[in-house]
Symmetry: C2
Subunit: 340 residues, 2 copies
DNA sequence: TTGAAAGCGGTACCAC
DNA sequence: GTGGTACCGCTTTCAA
């Protein structure tokens, strides 16, 4: 059987309430008693039962993260590894732990929110919505469940969110391609409705205004393989683009494979730039130019804010936080003989 | 305030015990009453509090995973993303959730085991020990905490473990390099004591027996950057190896960067093969030959076994399970004009 | 300062 | 079949 406070109390010849006080660091406990209790706890290897603590104190000490998988497959995107380990790292200072679940469909996504929050398994949620799924967000709002969104909520203002300025970042990276002398720059994004994709397309278009007549926006699904197929299509065309901004590194990997298969060399025949700046960027070809989103900073803000909300501390008026991104320029966009 | 069983009971004009029975699907409840109770639950959006359930039923519904980070840094290794999402996927069928924590030092590692298990936050642990840390394992054993190790325990037999046959896999990949005509094959591993590294070195040596006089084993720390440095060293030597088996993909990435920096082309000047078969393998150069460990299968077995142990079902006699690995051959070892 | 006792929201046994 | 009730291990009044 487990050691409980009762056991400790009996052995220390004090009441169980006193043991509880010692545990919570109540200053009213006499030093001598405190020492004795602590010694016995140590001796008996006592640790409080978090479930009982949670039940009493209305605090699970858990934060939930639901990752959305592409249908059937497991996400190989190193971006998630980054995100998860950043969160775990950030949490390791606090007294919260991370509970990770996954969902394939939107339906199960919602079910999982329910299971996690309404059953009180977690005290709050970190949402990484690629889609503007107002449905669920509104519901979480209405029920006053603490949550912070990493990304761009359609109806900002109300929702706590931490994000990059994707429009700006995309504009910057597109400008970089223009400066490198690329003349026919395309964008490969996800389907319309995925806010992160929409935002980046907007930035791409802003950069091209007055610079390039055609706006070559292609849509496909997430994942390296989908991107490879899509890229193969548009790279086969006679008036193919000579550079492409890709929604994320994982998709850019697919684009670079397509280029290789078609005998196009990067960066001379095709410039490639993308977002996330994951480990993949060092691996692809001689290096892939990518926008570094500064995940650690992003996660830090997200976690800090979420914990404040959970603790019901007063929250900054500004519910939307923007973390600056930085362009990591590598080989894939450094065209030989480019204008300086 | 939250809706509790008491509230439901009151509204349904039954006892709280009956509500509990309905919830647990007790067949003795009259159909009419069951329907009424269920309807009111639905109406009131009732979900049982998992903390209370856990407290009573001695079951947290949580499995813990502690990932070990290299000092200071965050793991970018896509291998972990794979592992975590596989576990989450596997768990999504069961009624367990995953709690992820991280630890930097061995000390904090142990502290986290304590916090997770002794506080009853989780019902069992998945260990991914790179090191033969008998200390902690023995302790978990002694206290009868349910856990399954992914990897090779030093003192097998007692410990439940799921693993690949790393010796065999390494032998296979080394043989493949020999067949491709490489004459001076090296191994880049981690420091001695990391069982996975030791096993793979053993396999490498077994393959070379009678084939190559020198056994060129180099040791360095995990991570792409450490591997890059180490590889740069030994690739600068006059009698440098013409192929290298690397402990994992992430380190192989470092090796390939080193090769590029030194102007060595892969696979002609240098053959490179590694383990894990992560996304990186498609990205590095024209493709990186790697041993596919079949993580999903490995995780499936691990999770199934762990849950059996937690449920105290009778456990198969054989405590060590070996999942077959498969060599994914790619460009990095396909030497032009190799003997067939 | 310390102890007794009332719950937190469930489960499960026992009696009817 | 159903209700009463003890109890899981802890926190937190309320008295003493």
């Amino acid at each position: 059987m487990r050691v409980t406070q009762r056991d400790i109390a009996r052995l220390a010849k004090v009441s169980q309430a006193t043991v509880s006080r010692v545990l919570s660091g109540d200053s009213r406990v006499e030093q001598e008693i405190r020492d004795r209790v602590l010694r016995i706890m140590e001796e008996k290897n006592y640790k409080p039962d978090v479930r009982a603590q949670a039940l009493r104190s209305k605090r699970a000490g858990m934060i939930g993260l639901v990752i959305k998988r592409p249908q059937g497959g497991i996400s190989n995107d190193p971006f998630f590894a980054n995100l998860i380990s950043s969160i775990v790292d950030e949490l390791s200072g606090s007294d919260f732990h991370l509970c990770v679940d996954s969902a394939m469909s939107d339906f199960s996504h919602e079910a999982i929110y329910d299971e996690m929050l309404r059953t009180r398994r977690v005290d709050g949620l970190i949402l990484v919505e690629s889609e503007a799924s107002d449905e669920r967000i509104i519901r979480l709002q209405r029920d006053h469940f603490p949550f912070v969104l990493i990304g761009n909520p359609l109806h900002a203002g109300e929702v706590h969110s931490v994000d990059n300025d994707n429009v700006l970042a995309s504009e910057t990276v597109t400008r970089h391609l223009i400066e490198q002398g690329y003349k026919r720059i395309a964008f490969l994004g996800a389907r319309t409705g995925i806010t992160v994709s929409d935002d980046r397309i907007a930035g791409y278009q802003r950069a091209l205004r007055g610079q390039q007549a055609d706006h070559l926006v292609y849509h496909t699904d997430f994942g390296s393989e989908n991107a490879r197929k899509a890229a193969t299509e548009f790279l086969k065309q006679p008036d193919r683009p000579d550079a492409v901004v890709v929604l994320d590194d994982f998709m850019a990997l697919g684009v670079s494979i397509a280029a290789r298969e078609l005998g196009l060399s990067i960066p001379n025949d095709l410039g490639v730039a993308s977002f996330n700046d994951t480990t993949l960027c060092e691996a692809v070809g001689g290096g892939l130019t990518s926008v570094n989103l500064n995940i650690p900073a992003l996660v830090k803000q997200t976690v800090e804010r979420l914990i404040r909300i959970i603790d019901e501390e007063d929250i900054p008026v500004n519910r939307r936080l923007i973390i600056p991104a930085k362009l990591s320029i590598r080989h894939s966009t450094l065209r030989e003989g480019a204008k300086r």
